[in-house]
Amino acid sequence: MIEVKDIHKAFNGEEILKGITTTFERGKTNLIIGTSGSGKTVFLKCMLGLFTPETGSICYDGATYSDLNEEQQRDLREQMGMVFQGSALFDSMTVEENVMFPLMMFTKQKKDEMLARVNEVLNRVNLENANGKLPSEISGGMQKRVAIARAIVTRPKYLFCDEPNSGLDPRTAIVIDNLIKEITEENDITTIINTHDMNSVMEIGEKIIFLRYGHLEWEGDKSQIFQTDNEAVTEFVYSSNLFKKVRDAQLKGL
């Protein structure tokens, strides 16, 4: 579980996060939604320790990040997995080397043990026979799977995903969403996904927080998001033509 208390973050005097307080539960897919520029990525990077908030605290299963010393922070980071928006695979390494990388850095396993684990996670993300390929030789969807495999190979306690299905076709996007949800449940990890894709919200949103201009505007689950009378949330949800048509059809009783 991750507890965030009153996080503030500014760049060059401009406040991007304006006091966010929320909780992300373990074993659930927690979604951060909001329009571009609402502070989603900055919020995620604060939780990853890439940005240091000016005020507030982030607590990981009882351990407050800012209270930890450098070594403890490093240990905590080793328990985090991250799927970046652009996958962020190391382009000079093959798929196998990319996935094996965290194991090589942080474990004392023998090569065959590492290979066994790599193959296990690659199978889990349905990516067989791609071990020897470079990231540039595989599709965007496959790159996302490799990024997920790399993120989970060390069995992290926390999984962060920054727009994991951006740039993917709708079918592949659903596959990636479901994969993340299944992995979250199987491994009982705290997963936080940054997205502005309403399909993801409908597919896997067990807890949703809506950010607007750096504020936490609304939080709830996917069943509540269509009932809310919060104008900003409604505007965001029904900016999708598909959802607008579904709502209109419901109102007409179709």
């Binding site: 990077k45 990853l48 382009d91 090589m104």
Partner: protein, 245 residues
């Protein structure tokens, strides 16, 4: 103020490079890869440049020796001194600022743009040590490249001088041995060691701290080349003043 800020960040970067070392087995592979990319990959162009620089120096010297009282051995002497003292260490390093420097800046800059450096940091890896330290160690081999450049440069002078009909083989070899001061080699290699450090770290600095997208990677590469060259030229002046005056 802007430059002072950059100089300060450069030294903070160096502090980061030498702290929290990456796992030894991983580092070993990275160093070998960097030696391949930065050193072995530079040999071809270095040999090519050194040969023709040496040849041109020999021809220019020969063509400017109009006085019959000046011995022909001076062609070899001038070629040796020019190649060992300046052309091999400094001129080749300026070329390397373009070749090796832009490679380093663009590879690290691309990693920055594509969030690969963020990925390293999220994993708890000291990205500065992981990315820059192996380059510094690999560049310790750079003096060998310069040694080859010295040899090939003088050989180029020999070929141009002897086969161009400016000087006989025995006169050239005799001129090469004339007034040889071993400290000049020491001076050249002291310069080379400093240049190798500058060649590894200044382009890394420009790549690591760049912001933006693909266009900025190109701008950072250009900027890295300019600044590496400027610092090499200044360092050359300072070291020459300190060591030879």
């Amino acid at each position: 103020m802007f430059y002072l800020d950059d100089i300060g960040r450069y030294f903070l970067m160096l502090k980061g490079v030498f702290s929290r070392m990456t796992k030894g087995s991983v580092l070993r592979n990275l160093i070998l890869k960097e030696i391949d990319d930065l050193i072995i990959g530079s040999l071809g162009i270095t040999v090519f440049l050194a040969f023709f620089i040496g040849a041109v120096v020999a021809i220019q010297t020969a063509l400017n020796l109009n006085n019959p009282l000046i011995p022909k051995q001076l062609i070899a002497f001038a070629s040796r001194q020019s190649v060992i003292l300046e052309f091999a260490p400094t001129f080749i390093s300026v070329i390397m600022a373009g070749k090796v420097g832009s490679f380093i800046t663009s590879s690290i800059g691309t990693m920055r743009v594509t969030e690969q450096i963020d990925a390293l940091e999220v994993m708890g890896i000291n990205s500065l040590n992981y990315l820059v330290f192996p380059k510094i160690i690999a560049m310790l081999m750079y003096p060998f490249v310069i040694a080859i450049a010295m040899f090939v440069g003088i050989f180029g002078g020999y070929i141009a001088g002897v086969y161009g009909g400016f000087v006989s083989s025995s006169e050239f070899i005799s001129g090469l041995q004339e007034d040889f001061i071993p400290f000049h080699l020491v001076y050249a290699f002291i310069k080379t060691f400093l240049y190798s450090f500058l060649l590894a770290t200044i382009p890394s600095f420009h790549g690591y701290y760049m912001k933006g997208g693909a266009l900025e990677v190109g701008k950072a590469s250009t900027s890295a080349f300019v600044w590496t060259t400027v610092v090499i030229i200044i360092a050359n002046y300072v070291l020459t003043q300190l060591l030879l005056s």
